[in-house]
Every structure is written in C-alpha cells, then in structure tokens.
C-alpha cells in the first residue's frame, strides 16, 4: 500500500511552500513551508481555522500568486500562472458571468480556453449541466437562480473543463445548512461517477470528514501543517465519525478551547 503511493508520482506536489502577501502596512506570512501531495482521484481537504492561509494556498496552486519559497508542481510541471488545467470553484455567488446564460457560461469556458469549439462545446456543456440537474435552467441568466443553483453551475463549469484538478474554495460556505448538506451529497455522487481529483478548502470539520478521503490540518498565523489524516469511508458508523471529528477538533483547537466552532 505504502509502496504503491510512493512509486506513482503525485498529481500535485506542494513542497516547502511559504506564501507572503503585502497589505497596506504589513508583509503578512500566510503559510510557512507547507508540504503535501495530492494523488489522482483524491478528495484532498485543506482544513483549518480562519487565518491559516488555506485559501491563499489554494490561490497559489491556482497560479494566482507565486510562493516566496518552495515550489508547486502539477504533473511534474512547475505552476507559474492560472490555467484551465486547474479550474477554480469560488465561494462567491458572483463567479458566474452575469451576461451569459447557464449554458453560455459553460460553453464560454470551454471555448476561450481552447478546449472545445462550437457544437462539441455545446454538447459537453449540456452533458455536465445535466449532471448537476440544471437542464431546465440551461437558458436562464444567473441572476434568476438561487445560490445553490449558481454553485452547481460553477461546479458543472469546472467539471466540464475536465481539469487535472478541481480547486474548490469553500464552495458551500455561503449556502444555508439544508442546501449545503444536499450539495455535499451531490458532489460525492458526482465523484462516484467520474472520480475527478479535487482540492477542497473548508473551515468546517464535519464537511471535511464527509467530503474528503485525506485531510490536511493547518494551524493559524502563519499556516503550518499540523497533521495529514485519512478520513472515513462513506458508510462509516456515526460513532467513528464523531470520534474523528472530536480528534480533529482537539488537534486544531487544543490551545484555544474557549473558541466556539461553527459548523
């Protein structure tokens, strides 16, 4: 088991990555010498409290910022700029282009990135819009959709591009609790179908345990790796889920027990 993972090179390799950004008055170190690697078909979670640099780390993998130290490799290639081989799904509902319909949003992504053209792009777009159950809304403009539907379009858009890795930055954080749970289940169903690779940022421990197969815990200010854990299979019993959640909670908040955790 250990041998096989060591022999096949990781899809995404993050080595000693330190990330810094400037605000008006300060130079902030967001993460310090973070290491992890993501294998093909992983549901890899970056988990940590706010201020642990998990979103910044995702942006660096997306190619939006360069590490001050360390390197990020995707399929052996150094990541230097954003590209359609790493599709982002953001938390914000305004990530869809409001001047394009649901279908046009997906088609536009496929066509501008040079992935597919014309009829082939339209067919691929509809195929993925169907996967997220939005066929009836293919010709609707984003402003007529609910928050959950917009996030589903963003996921369809990301998946239609068939990227090497899908980067999701707290995509369900702005949704109400019921919709969030439904979206988590839909995402897992989609993964069962296509076994895509996803790097998923969240600050919710239950979400991490539910979505991920591998969880990277980060400590805050600056973000450093605290642990890399295996999650549980989908059919795990409630007691072991609760035990894992309690264990993660203990590791993340060992020194700050007074802080409330919101799910």
């Amino acid at each position: 088991m250990l041998d096989s993972t060591e022999r096949s090179p990781p899809l995404l390799d993050v080595r000693g990555v330190t990330l810094q950004y400037k605000t008006r008055d300060h130079l902030v170190t967001a993460t310090y010498r973070v290491d992890f690697s993501v294998l093909r078909s992983d549901r890899f979670i970056l988990l940590g409290p706010s201020g642990c640099g998990k979103s910044t780390l995702l942006k660096a993998v997306g190619g939006y910022m360069a590490p001050t130290e360390g390197e990020i490799h995707l399929k052996g290639q150094l990541v230097t700029r954003p590209g359609p081989d790493r599709m982002m799904v953001f938390q914000e509902f305004d990530q869809l282009l409001p001047w394009k319909t649901v279908r046009q949003n997906v088609v536009f992504a496929l066509e501008t990135s040079g992935k597919l053209k014309g009829k082939a792009a339209g067919e691929k777009a509809m195929q993925y819009i169907e996967k997220v159950h939005l066929t009836r809304f293919a010709d609707a403009y984003p402003h007529t959709l609910s928050g959950g539907m917009k996030q589903r379009v963003a996921i369809a858009r990301g998946m239609a591009m068939e990227p090497d890795i899908l980067l999701m930055d707290e995509p369900f954080a702005a949704l109400d609790a019921l919709t969030r749970r439904q979206m988590q289940e839909e995402l897992l169903a989609l993964w069962d179908e296509t076994k895509f690779t996803v790097l998923f940022v969240t600050h919710s421990i239950p979400e991490a345990v539910k979505i991920g197969n591998r969880i990277l815990l980060l400590s805050p200010h600056p973000g450093q790796v605290k642990a890399e854990l295996n999650s549980l299979p989908a059919d795990a019993d409630r007691a072991s889920v609760a035990a894992l959640e309690a264990r993660i909670h203990g590791m993340l908040f060992a020194d700050r027990l007074e802080e409330d955790e919101h799910v």
């Binding site: 954003p82 359609p84 599709m87 305004d94 501008t112 040079g114 403009y141």
Partner: protein, 288 residues
C-alpha cells in the same frame, strides 16, 4: 425544575382558499392605468402644455412667449419645409463625429489606466483637471486653433465627452469583482482579451451611464457652440437655426427649435439608450 411553564403543543391544518374573502383579485382599470409610468408622465406633460397655452394667451405677446399652438404650427412648418430636419441632421452629423472620437479616446485612456499604474495617475489627473471645465469655455481657444468650422466643434465635443466617459468607465473597471477577474484568468485570459471578454461586460452598467452623461454633455455643448459662432462649413445646425430665428424676431420658430432639441434628447434617452439597457444590463440582472 424548569423555569418556563409547560405549554400544550398546537397542530393545525391550514384552511382551503375558498374560505377566504379575497385571495387574488384583479385591480380596477384606473389602478392599472395609474400604474403605467409613461401614462403618468404623459399626463404631467399635458398639464404643463395647458398651463403654457393659458399663460401665453393671457400674456398675448408673441415676442416674449408664443402660445403652444403657435409653436407647434411653426414647428410643423419647419418640418414640412424640410428646414428643421435639415438643421437637425447637420447637428447630429457633427455630434456623431465628436461623440465617437471622444468615446474612442476614452477607451484608449481607460485601457492604459487599468494596465499601467502611470496610466491610472494620468487619467486621474486629467479628469480632475478637465472634468470641471465647461467644454464651451474652450471654444474661443478652439476658434483660434482650428478656425470657424467643423474642427472647432469636434474639439469642444471631444472635450465634453472624453472625461465623463473615461471617468465612469474607469470607475466601472475598478468595481469589477476580484472573483470575476480570477475566473477570466482561470480560462487563460490576460491583457486585452481579458478587458474585452470580462472587464467591459462586467463594467457595462457604468460604461452605459458614462455614455449617457457624455451624450447629454455633447448635445448641450454642440447647441451652445452653434449659438456662439453659428454656421459651420456652410451648413448650420439647430443652434444656428435658433440664432437666425431670434435675429428675425420669429420667436415661435425659436421655440420650435428648442422643442426639436428636447425631442431629439428624449428620443435618444428613451429609445436608443433604453433599448440598449433592456437588451443588456436589465436582462443580465445587473440593473433594475
């Protein structure tokens, strides 16, 4: 022991719609008519016209205030003789040249402003300096530089359009959310393709607002400029028409000229720009 009183639970079934007096009822004809914005506006205009007509008849001095009927008669004569359409057309042609030149320059300036930092500084300094300066104040200078003719008119028009459009477009570009920019870059877009495919449509509400302001400024400036030095390249516009009529003390014709200016303004605002708005920003839910 609990400190709240234990209350019985309540479970009810909602009653059917037939039990209510009114669930949905159409509004009366008057209510529905009153809800139409254009009807209310037309009503206001009719009231104003009646007041005008009454006052002008009471005054009975055509050299000061001609009646509405006299104005409309003069207007109709001007239209049927072909003079007014001719003059309006001459004005609109000059306007089109000045407006499009101004918009093109504004586009170049704002693209420079969002791609380079020095471009931003340049745009901000120039708009701060020239935006408060009325374009018509440059007319005497323009007459010295470009002479009596199209050149001077276009110069002041460009000045009136450029800063308003550039200011609004730039503000619009800066207001485009970081997320949308990142989405565009995720597709591999950068530089001019990013501006064309993401920034311009995303900033379209502001750009459109800038174009509307620019159009209104340009239209005012043009008429004012025509009034100052009248005929350009042998063919006068509406401003010149008003100036001429005033010299001949044909006041109903002056009013007819003013009426034409107002009508063209309303037409552009309510037909041209409204159509663009309905097909773009309203349809996209970016403006309500």
């Amino acid at each position: 022991m609990s400190d709240t009183i234990l209350r019985p639970e309540i479970v009810q079934t909602p009653r059917g719609a037939q039990d209510f007096g009114i669930v949905e009822k159409p509004l009366t004809l008057f209510e529905r008519l009153y809800n139409q914005v254009w009807l209310r506006k037309i009503f206001l205009i009719v009231v104003l016209i009646i007041l005008w007509e009454l006052y002008a008849r009471h005054l009975d001095n055509e050299l000061l205030v001609p009646t509405f009927t006299a104005t409309i008669t003069a207007w109709w004569q001007g239209v049927s003789s072909g003079v007014l359409p001719d003059r309006a057309w001459a004005s609109l042609q000059v306007l089109a040249i000045g407006f499009s030149t101004g918009v093109a320059l504004a586009a170049i300036l704002t693209v420079l402003a969002i791609t380079t930092r020095i471009g931003t500084d340049f745009l901000e300094t120039m708009t701060a300096m020239f935006n408060p300066l009325p374009a018509i104040a440059l007319l005497p200078l323009a007459l010295i530089w470009f002479g009596l003719g199209l050149g001077s008119l276009v110069f002041v028009l460009v000045h009136s359009v450029l800063w308003a459009v550039a200011l609004n477009t730039h503000a619009g570009f800066r207001g485009v959310s970081q997320t949308l920019r990142m989405v565009g870059r995720n597709y591999g877009l950068s530089g001019l393709p990013l501006v064309l495919n993401i920034l311009i449509p995303a900033a379209f509400p502001s750009i459109l607002a800038g174009l509307k302001i620019g159009w209104a400024f340009a239209w005012r400036t043009l008429i004012a400029a025509e009034l100052v030095f009248g005929v350009a390249s042998g063919k006068g516009g509406l401003g010149w028409f008003i100036f001429e009529s005033k010299n001949q003390l044909d006041i109903p014709e002056v009013f007819a000229g003013l009426l034409t200016i107002i009508m063209i303004g309303l037409l552009v605002e309510n037909v041209v720009f409204r159509t663009i708005e309905n097909r773009t920003v309203r349809r996209w839910g970016m403006q309500h």
